[in-house]
């Protein structure tokens, strides 16, 4: 709090408050009172948040074997993993998303047994493609991060575990993986924010996230700026929550080496 009580910061704070008040008074916010839009906004925020959480978790689960294969795997595992990470990181996410949605999505209806299967009602919707594309994207980027993390665990730790007669899988589960994850924790917060910034792309394949809701409001009411401002505020709030969450995580698992 002390840092805020400098004259120039007080003036900036006053300016910021004035700006917010001006926005609140002179811009049009009457659409926020409409219960239809309130419900849509809540649904949009919920969709954005769960897509982000699910794809981060699934993507990390994929990233662990990808990183391991690249770090210590034999060439027939390391090469495909490296190519996968290269392709995911070398092409835009929007392109991958559209390839999956328009490409596979238009292929499925032409295959009879998929149309008749139990899964068809799910595959007909857009969100499975969104989740798949975002998960693969996380896997590609974090696979590279995990490769560095696995390699960064001190050799002595693994040798000590081996000398104690630990089986290989137990070494991985108790020593190697926890230390690697501990190493990536500080980077992971930033990566999660980057992933959050990628989520509005799913609106282009008709998933109703908060970005799609704001576009909808703009189309319905012809209000240009206000929905966009609300959108920016919502994303900044989510980013702040992510940063706080990871700070809390890091304080739960303090770096003993440092």
């Amino acid at each position: 709090m002390r840092a805020l009580l400098v004259p120039r910061r007080l003036i900036m704070l006053a300016l910021a408050v004035a700006l917010v008040l001006w926005c609140a008074v002179s811009l049009r916010w009457d659409w926020l009172g409409n219960p239809k839009y309130q419900a849509l906004i809540m649904q949009g925020i919920w969709n954005t948040v769960w897509i982000l959480a699910v794809t981060m978790v699934l993507g990390m689960l994929l990233a662990i074997p990808l990183g391991l294969a690249q770090a210590v795997g034999p060439w027939y595992l390391a090469t495909p993993a490296r190519v996968f990470c290269g392709v995911i990181r070398g092409t835009p996410l929007l392109l991958q998303l559209w390839l999956l949605y328009y490409g596979i999505g238009t292929l499925f209806p032409s295959i009879p047994w998929i149309r008749q299967s139990e899964l068809w009602p799910i595959l007909r919707q857009a969100w499975p493609y969104a989740v798949l594309a975002l998960t693969l994207s996380v896997a590609g980027y974090e696979g590279e991060v995990m490769r560095g993390a696995f390699k960064g665990v001190p050799h002595g730790q693994l040798e000590a575990a081996k000398a104690m007669g630990m089986p290989r899988f137990t070494i991985f589960r108790r020593i190697w993986l926890p230390q690697a994850l501990h190493r990536v924790l500080p980077t992971l917060g930033g990566e999660t924010v980057l992933q959050m910034k990628a989520t509005p792309l799913v609106a282009t394949i008709t998933v109703v996230d908060i970005y799609a809701v704001s576009s909808r409001v703009r189309q319905d009411t012809f209000i240009v700026y206000e929905p966009l401002l609300l959108l920016a505020v919502v994303y900044m709030a989510i980013a702040a929550l992510i940063v706080l969450l990871f700070k809390w995580f890091e304080s739960r698992f303090p770096n003993k080496a440092a």
Binding site: L93, L95, T106, Y211
Partner: protein
Amino acid sequence: MFAGALAASTLELLALSPPGWGATLLSGLANSVLIALGAFALGLAIGVGGAYGKLYGSPLVKDLLAIYTTIVRAVPELVLILILYFAVTDMVNQALISFGYARIQISGIAAGIGVLGVVQGAYATEVLRGAILAVPAGQIEAARAMGMPATLLARRITLPLMLSFAIPGLANLWLVATKDTALLAVVGFAELTQQTRQAASTTKAFFTFFMAAGVLYLLLSIVSTLLFNRLEQWARKGQRSMGG
């Protein structure tokens, strides 16, 4: 396998002459590269200014730059593109009208370069700030002791020395810039991804076109990585290798 068979039958759609869409894709690629180059250059200019401001600026400048980098790094590029595009077009037009000129339509390329440049600038500020901090302090102090003026010092000592530290980060930013141009497809600008979607939805050969565009993006990133490696070697000329 299935996708491969499907792609083989539609490969002639990629031909360069009019029944094929190859020329359309390539013009899209050219637009993408042009915007990426412009945005990268603008981002670099903002980044140099921002890094110096963050390191040596007055407290007020430091605070303002902190707000700029925080906001840009927390709000999705897609949202920033929309906000800046509408806001800047509006402001330019209001200024023009108040000075008695007619309204103008800002071209897609200019808007794309401007918006992505502002985004790149925030990240470039952080990359260059770190690189300047990595320059040995003795070098800068020695130059100051010789009475070098600030701009000469920047030009002869700080900027050349920090280049080798900055290049890996800048290479990353360039790759981000090439991929971020795809976002302009959402606002309907005719860059590679948008052209691909156009071609794909006209011909229904989704796999062929999206794969082809993917290959083009990959080639772009591979070629740029090679170029940046050469550049890094050049910038490290005369330095002892870090590995020892």
